[in-house]
């Protein structure tokens, strides 16, 4: 996979835009997932995910071929998410509401005229609930938890993406896990 990606990047260096389209196809779900779970809002996540790829393209000359491409890409994505969250916090500091979940979660996007099986509704309600719990975590714990459990990355990779020592990443995951345990234990 990484070899294929590096071949594509060489093609991009030669000006082949289609090769970049392939890269976007490879990584779009993963990058979108990071963004969506970080900010909790689909349209905003889409915006940030697109921005991630555009920045990657513009700065492809700065990517070091000796490193894993996904690490570099996820780093752009998480940085953009954190920037966006900080900006939002500054903009809406007076609203105490949980930000990011307004009317745009998966459950509320399904047209109401189209009744769903009970199980599916229950599943989506659970997903919405879990997403809200995730959003309630401090950003640094949330980021580490998303990279570990949704992207299934190793502690070393997470440490590279977040530019933090492995020990700090572990602490963030432990605290995030513990905070979620307390909130989810009665489910």
């Amino acid at each position: 996979m990484e070899e294929l990606v590096k071949r594509k990047i060489k093609e991009i260096h030669r000006g082949n835009k289609n090769a970049f389209g392939d890269i976007v196809e490879f990584y779009k779900d993963k990058v979108f997932q990071i963004c969506f779970r970080m900010v909790g809002n689909r349209s905003e996540a889409e915006d940030i995910a697109q921005e991630t790829f555009i920045r990657a393209y513009i700065n492809i000359g700065n990517y070091n071929m000796d490193k894993k491409f996904s690490t570099w890409l996820y780093r752009i994505a998480t940085n953009l998410c954190i920037d966006r969250l900080r900006k939002k916090k500054a903009d809406y500091s007076l609203d105490a509401e949980v930000t990011g979940t307004e009317g745009l979660t998966m459950y509320s996007q399904i047209p109401s005229a189209d009744p769903l099986p009970e199980d599916a509704v229950a599943f989506m309600e659970l997903q919405d609930f879990l997403q809200r719990e995730l959003l309630a975590l401090p950003e640094k714990y949330r980021t580490a938890i998303i990279l570990k459990y949704m992207e299934e990355l190793s502690l070393n990779e997470i440490s590279e993406i977040l530019d933090l020592p492995v020990g700090t990443v572990k602490t963030h995951i432990h605290r995030g896990r513990e905070a979620l345990r307390k909130r989810l234990r009665h489910l």
Binding site: Q33, R37, I58, I60, Y149, E151, E152, L180
Partner: protein, 215 residues
């Protein structure tokens, strides 16, 4: 809630991280066999992991890739150029040099574009925008005509160059050197560069000849 020693909870975290040392693993497992509170606690942590993993089902919206590619072009050119420049410093320098040189050449071409001019030679007749070498006369030396034409009825003992004009040579006309017509900007640039280069060569040769004289 947490009634057992702290290290046991740390061992649980180590277990979940997947890097628990064998000794800690043994101690933890032995403890879990006997302590129901810790078993419950550990079970809650495992369930939390499972819940969070269940969120890993997100897909990018339809048309995502196209949308990204549509937003690229402007950035694309810049990126490619920047990349090219940084990887070809020598060629970049050469390109800038050529660009600057052709810049002055271009302005030389446009500056001279309007005015008719011709090399001054005795016996050369000027009529409107045409220089005429009269029948029976011989002009010793090169003639350059800009933005006009030349009619050669006599003889030119040298080169004739016509820039942005035409040459007519009568049957009795004769040119002993080269005849060149330059109408295109590109040819003009080439001509200008050739001249500059030959000037440099002349200067260089002149110097080396002077050096020889000193010896």
């Amino acid at each position: 809630m947490r009634q057992c020693p702290d290290y046991l909870y740390e061992y649980m975290q180590e277990f979940l991280d997947g890097d628990i040392p064998a000794e800690h693993d043994r101690v933890l497992k032995e403890h879990l066999r006997t302590c129901k509170d810790c078993r419950d606690y550990f079970y809650e942590l495992k369930r939390t992991e499972m819940f969070i993993k269940s969120l890993a089902n997100v897909h990018a919206p339809d048309g995502f890739t196209d949308e990204v590619l549509n937003r690229l072009p402007k950035a694309a050119k810049k990126a490619r150029l920047r990349h090219w420049f940084s990887h070809h410093p020598f060629l970049t320098a050469a390109a800038i040099f050529l660009l600057l040189m052709s810049g002055s050449t271009f302005s030389a071409w446009t500056d001279n574009h309007e005015d008719f001019s011709v090399t001054k030679q005795p016996d050369l007749i000027i009529k409107n925008d045409t220089a005429i070498v009269p029948e029976g006369k011989t002009i010793n030396g090169d003639i350059v005509v800009r933005n006009g034409s030349i009619r050669i009825e006599g003889k030119v003992d040298g080169d004739v160059t016509v820039i942005n004009g035409e040459k007519y040579i009568a049957s009795a006309g004769e040119v002993t050197g080269d005849i060149q017509e330059i109408n295109q900007l590109f040819e003009w640039i080439w001509f200008d560069i050739k001249n500059k280069v030959s000037q440099w060569i002349k200067i260089f040769d002149g110097k080396s000849e002077e050096e020889k004289d000193f010896q």
